[in-house]
């Protein structure tokens, strides 16, 4: 990673970011803006999943479940408690963190496979519950008419972008810190980490709480942007697409999965003309990437951007 982030690359990245940030003001509301808002939300989801899956190695299938409950609680707080939408996002995050705490503690006793199965079951159970208690969840169709952040989509674009950047920055800082180092130690070799004195329990749960907090925030964003939320938020489709984004982007790097969100959703839009084959292609792409470029899009970028340095011969 140090190979990549030298001065010229950093300047390039900031430039791209500035152009991207200014774009909506220049072009005004458009379909693309709406796509980008969704991308922001999913990028937050993907990045937050990375701290759980990519850093501590707990492959949780429940991330979208937390996202969904964050969305629901955000919606309920607006509808029943008259809380302003912006605060509802934070409530979503808090709910997410609490759920993450519970699930994190529950999953301490499971390793890879059972963990995935339990969280998978929790996701499906969430869907069933949401459908069952239709009186408060609106069932399949959901609750509608939730006050949105703003009717001006450009504002929503900036808010979501801001939250996305905040998420990535925070997660990156955590990842680079000693906490992140310990988490990655757990993923690489849990027993070895224990031997070296890493408090596996604490860090696994911490990762789950942090990741779930941001998932809940993404949920709050989702419902205040869409203005509605229903049991369909727990569909497997969302989970599978999230995993696509995470895998294609490159797990373990926070930024990678966020990039993956851009790739998957944008490709999905461009490939709309082959509507039904989209997911098949993306699935194949994921499998190929996981086998050939396990580091994903981020890894490929890294390699490309570090060429100048390596050619000059001063790589360590």
């Amino acid at each position: 990673m140090k190979k990549m982030w030298n001065h010229s690359v950093l300047i390039l990245a900031i430039l791209i970011l500035l152009i991207y940030a200014v774009y909506p003001v220049v072009t005004g509301d458009s379909y693309l803006i709406r796509v980008f808002i969704l991308i922001h939300i999913f990028a937050i989801l993907a990045a937050s999943m990375d701290i759980i899956v990519g850093y501590t190695g707990q492959l949780t299938a429940g991330h979208t479940a937390i996202w969904g409950w964050g969305a629901f609680f955000g919606a309920w707080s607006i509808v029943y408690l008259n809380i302003p939408p912006v605060l509802a996002i934070i409530i979503g995050g808090v709910v997410g963190a609490l759920l993450g705490l519970g699930i994190g503690i529950l999953c301490l006793r499971f390793r890879y496979l059972l963990l995935t199965l339990v969280t998978f079951a929790i996701l499906i159970l969430s869907y069933a519950l949401a459908r069952q208690f239709a009186s408060i969840t609106g069932g399949e169709l959901g609750i509608h008419g939730i006050p949105v952040l703003s009717t001006n989509r450009i504002i929503v674009f900036y808010i979501s972008l801001f939250v996305l950047i905040a998420t990535i920055v925070s997660l990156k800082l955590i990842g680079r810190s000693e906490i992140g180092m310990r988490m990655r130690a757990i993923k690489d070799n849990e027993e070895g980490a224990k031997v070296l004195g890493v408090d596996v329990v604490k860090y696994k749960v911490m990762a789950s709480v942090i990741g779930s907090f941001f998932a809940g925030v993404a949920g709050g964003l989702y419902t205040t942007y869409m203005g509605s939320v229903g049991a369909s938020i727990f569909f497997l489709d969302h989970l599978l697409r999230l995993i696509l984004m995470w895998g294609i982007g490159g797990g373990g790097t926070i930024i990678g999965p966020a990039l993956g969100a851009y790739v998957v959703i944008l490709l999905g839009e461009y490939l709309r003309f082959i509507e039904e084959y989209r997911l098949i292609l993306l699935g194949i792409a994921l499998i190929v990437i996981l086998r050939v470029f396990p580091a994903g899009v981020y890894g490929v970028l890294e390699k490309i951007l570090s060429y100048p340095k390596r050619l000059r011969g001063d790589h360590k």
Binding site: V53, G57, L59, L106, R109, F110, Y112, L113, L114, T116, L117, V118, F120, A121, I122, I124, L125, A128, L129, R131, Q132, L236, L240, I243, L244, G247, G251, E276, Y277, L279, I280, G283, I284, L286, I287, L290, R291, P294
Partner: protein, 286 residues
């Protein structure tokens, strides 16, 4: 207690059993949990449907072709996509999830998202002590159990079965004894996919063909596997019947969403109270 309830419970149990046996065998041998299992199930039914309608084959050749096709496909997929990286658990699971996604889309693209009718080959009923039993269901139950029994014979009594069992017990030691573990994996994948496809044909003949069935059957197979315990292969049979009979009884009293919710609740309960399941043993040594 109604006789028909028990008979139906046995029928459902046998369906659950053949739906799950492939999954547990796959996992026990390869160490990879095939999330795409549900897709393989309905694929068996769908391919047979194609054989019947578009290729104008009769039942047996169509069924045979579809079973072999699914088996070959999964074996090839395993060989190139999973075998080399099966030690990286996370990646392997993600790949099977991707396969699930792709197969589901493929089926919707090729056959449409709505249900398709599957011909019933044994119409009619038999009256036993005042209740009607559908012959088709009887055929399905019996043929499923025979298929499982055949598989048992294959695994327990043949040389290949011995090789597979050795690989299950301890792959490295088996390899050092000259058993080609990779090849054993491929055999197991083929056998488990084939019997799964067969199960799918059976299911289709008593229900219908639809992509929705995929998630349902997937969940059922997962639930039965977990109840039985992930380390055991044959333990899924009693587990399947337990779940099947419970499901039938429950459905008649609570109906509708019961099945859906109960499966997930069973999974969570089992994993929380006794992760080992009913018959599971120590973890797989890869």
């Amino acid at each position: 207690m109604d006789i028909s309830l028990i008979i139906n419970g046995v029928f459902i149990g046998s369906v659950f059993a053949i739906a799950t046996i492939g999954l547990s065998f796959f996992y026990t041998t390869t160490g990879v949990f095939n999330f795409a299992h549900g897709a393989l199930l309905i694929l068996g039914g769908y391919l047979t449907y194609t054989g019947l309608t578009h290729l104008n084959l009769s039942l047996v050749p169509a069924a045979f072709l579809s079973v072999v096709a699914v088996g070959l496909f999964m074996t090839l997929f395993y060989r190139y996509a999973l075998l080399p990286i099966r030690e990286q658990h996370i990646t392997a699971i993600i790949i099977t999830l991707a396969l699930l996604l792709m197969l589901e889309r493929l089926i919707v693209v090729l056959y449409g998202p709505w249900g398709l009718p599957f011909p019933t080959f044994f119409p009619g009923v038999v009256i036993v002590s005042g209740t009607e039993i559908s012959i088709q269901k009887m055929f399905v139950s019996i043929s499923s159990l025979i298929a499982i029994a055949l598989m048992w014979v294959l695994i327990s009594k043949t040389w290949i079965g011995l090789g597979i069992r050795a690989t299950i017990d301890n792959e490295h030691i088996a390899a050092s004894l000259g058993i080609n573990a990779g090849r054993m994996h491929l055999f197991s994948v083929f056998i488990s996919s084939a019997i799964t496809a067969f199960g799918g044909i059976n299911i289709a003949s008593t229900l219908f063909l639809s992509p929705i069935l995929m998630s349902q059957m997937n969940m059922i197979a997962i639930t039965v596997s977990i109840l039985a315990g992930l380390g055991s292969i044959w333990g899924v049979i009693p587990a399947a019947f337990i779940l099947g009979i419970a499901d039938t009884i429950g459905a008649s009293y609570l109906g509708g969403w019961f099945r859906f919710v109960s499966m997930t609740v069973v999974v969570i309960l089992v994993l929380v109270i006794r992760p080992r399941g009913l018959f599971g043993q120590k973890e797989r040594v890869i």
